[in-house]
Symmetry: C2
Subunit: 351 residues, 2 copies
């Protein structure tokens, strides 16, 4: 293969050469991985633990925009958001598979960047990349990741097992990922109108990182375990607090109260919301992509819970017929609205 | 939801409503499925068996053309080709997850068709659909399936364990799926030039079915087990006999001989090749998508093997330094060429 420039065309490798090239740096870390990439299927051995499996698809122009998402971060994110689902089961992720559809406009170097981000996430979270598929696409890039993990059956935490009176808790802070996206969209718009204007991202690092390189909340799971707290129900926040709280409530056949003044929002996110003329609470409720954990715990765990640094108690579960509500700072009670597909489509069009 | 016509727009469901609607008919059949669709992740319990996992992505305009692929068949095929990889490990498939990217041009009814095909395959092969993701796509449809299965460790058959002198065997017949594709492409071309011309598919059922609705070779695995034969190495034929035979040989650090007159080609495929002015052997070697099993067995199993109805002995493994060859009907020895990414790209442009 002759080096003509810094761009290597996909055609210079065969399909199998390409897969081999991209997967040659994979290190296996999990004792459960008996055979990784290189056969019809990977072979895993969980030795009596239960297996959890989840899958997510990221589509160019829907979930990411290569105009501002660096490929390495994108690879990292594709893995992290899947691991987030595994942690949300209170399980430990162990393996991932990755399928990619890519067009000829990507070079081998671009794919190496993407893979290096994926492998970085695998390294940080201690999981093995054990299989995948790489294929051509007529236009955009599609990344599909499946993650597997394990747990003792008695450790698993589902969505449908919250009880009335349980405390509703959330890790970290909310809304920042959505605001990071809005900043990137704004700068893209400015750049389109005048490509000599450099992006103004000063002081926005936290918001941008929350959007471009989210983390799965492994340390929250560890803290809860160390404190001897097992959540009664848990979900990760991909679609926004409102939507996920309703999921927990509906699946558990309960109602839910969230107190507006308890929702954790970073001061940078508050400021940015005001700059955009948005209500920070609405951003936290509906923004999505925070990948924090939303969970319920028994009231008897309150004292233990209070001492944990990354966790906010934001409300409680109530009877099913009492509905889903947010209690405003002024004492008002507003019905929570789930953001779903419609809002998602609207967001694609600019919110 | 008001019935206005036979077309229901995706927007009429929320995202979660849509997933619930599409997954409501899922029946769980596997004792290992502890929890299917409906939480952050599915929960599986394999009770000490080893797990195998594989993933495949099907992209519109690359792997399928909705102008001639019925959605129900497409759903069926998406599942079957993944199960084929599980059988190629000599394992038993147990669960699948499905991720879909779809644009608004698809109706809910279209997705129901796709799902009904996937669930039909799940029913026939006795596997559970346990999770997935449904997202929007700016244009084409992408289907990503991950399949899991189980085996006792001593039953697994890899690609790299063939031995010199082993017999090379293939199930069923080869080349038909590729010819089916060529027929469909020809009729599409004719239709484009004159849309009043009806497609002429008389007598082509077998070739079309091999392309549009392939099966995984479960019964071959069962026959081998019943006959007490454990292959020494195995792979499924997705890219064509030549490519897969080289995979087996290269992974096992061996060479391989294939005898042209032993390659099983259905008479319909021979006739169709001739109609297209193609060499049937070349079609069988390079056509791909047959999803037959290619495997090696010890010579000591020859007598047992001979009696099996769906299996042809087409060659044998030899030393690595002896290379990869096809022995022609006239005794000529030609080096086998793997078809890979390049050929694949060319095929997209019409072969």
């Amino acid at each position: 293969m002759e080096a003509k420039s810094n761009r290597t065309e996909l055609e210079e490798f065969g399909e199998f050469g390409l897969i081999q090239h991209l997967t040659q740096n994979i290190q296996l870390r999990q004792p459960s991985t008996k055979k990784g990439v290189g056969d019809d299927a990977a072979v895993l051995d969980y030795e009596g633990l239960q297996t959890v499996v989840t899958t997510d698809m990221l589509v160019e122009k829907v979930h990411f925009d290569l105009m501002y998402a660096p490929l390495k971060h994108l690879g990292y994110k594709a893995i992290a958001v899947n691991l987030s689902d595994i942690y949300a089961m209170n399980a430990t992720p162990s393996q991932v598979t990755v399928s990619l559809a890519i067009s000829n406009r990507f070079s081998v170097e671009a794919l190496e960047e993407l893979y290096s981000g994926m492998l970085k996430a695998c390294e940080i979270y201690g999981v093995d990349l054990v299989g995948g598929d790489t294929t051509t696409s007529p236009s955009g890039m599609v990344i599909s990741v499946t993650a597997m993990g394990t747990a003792n059956p008695e450790e698993l935490v589902y969505r449908h097992t919250a009880r009335s009176g349980d405390l509703l808790c959330v890790s970290g802070d909310l809304g920042a990922a959505y605001l990071g996206l809005q900043i990137l969209e704004r700068e893209k718009q400015i750049f389109r109108e005048n490509s000599s204007v450099q992006p103004d991202l000063e002081g926005k690092d936290y918001l941008l990182e929350r959007q471009l390189k989210p983390e799965a909340r492994r340390e929250v799971i560890a803290e809860l375990k160390n404190a001897g707290i097992k959540p009664t129900a848990m979900i990760d926040i991909s679609d926004g607090l409102a939507s996920e709280a309703i999921h927990l409530a509906r699946n558990s056949k309960l109602g839910v109260n969230i107190f507006e003044d308890k929702i954790p929002i970073d001061p940078l996110a508050v400021n940015q919301s005001e700059e955009f003329g948005m209500d920070p609470t609405v951003v936290a409720l509906n923004g999505g992509e925070d990948y924090e954990l939303l969970f319920t715990v028994a009231q008897s765990d309150f004292e233990q819970l209070k001492s944990l640094p990354h966790i906010s108690i934001i409300g409680h579960m109530k009877g099913e017929d009492e509905g889903y509500h947010i209690i405003g700072n002024n004492g008002s009670q507003i019905t929570l609205q789930a953001q779903g597909w419609d809002a998602f489509l609207k967001r694609e069009q600019g919110y």
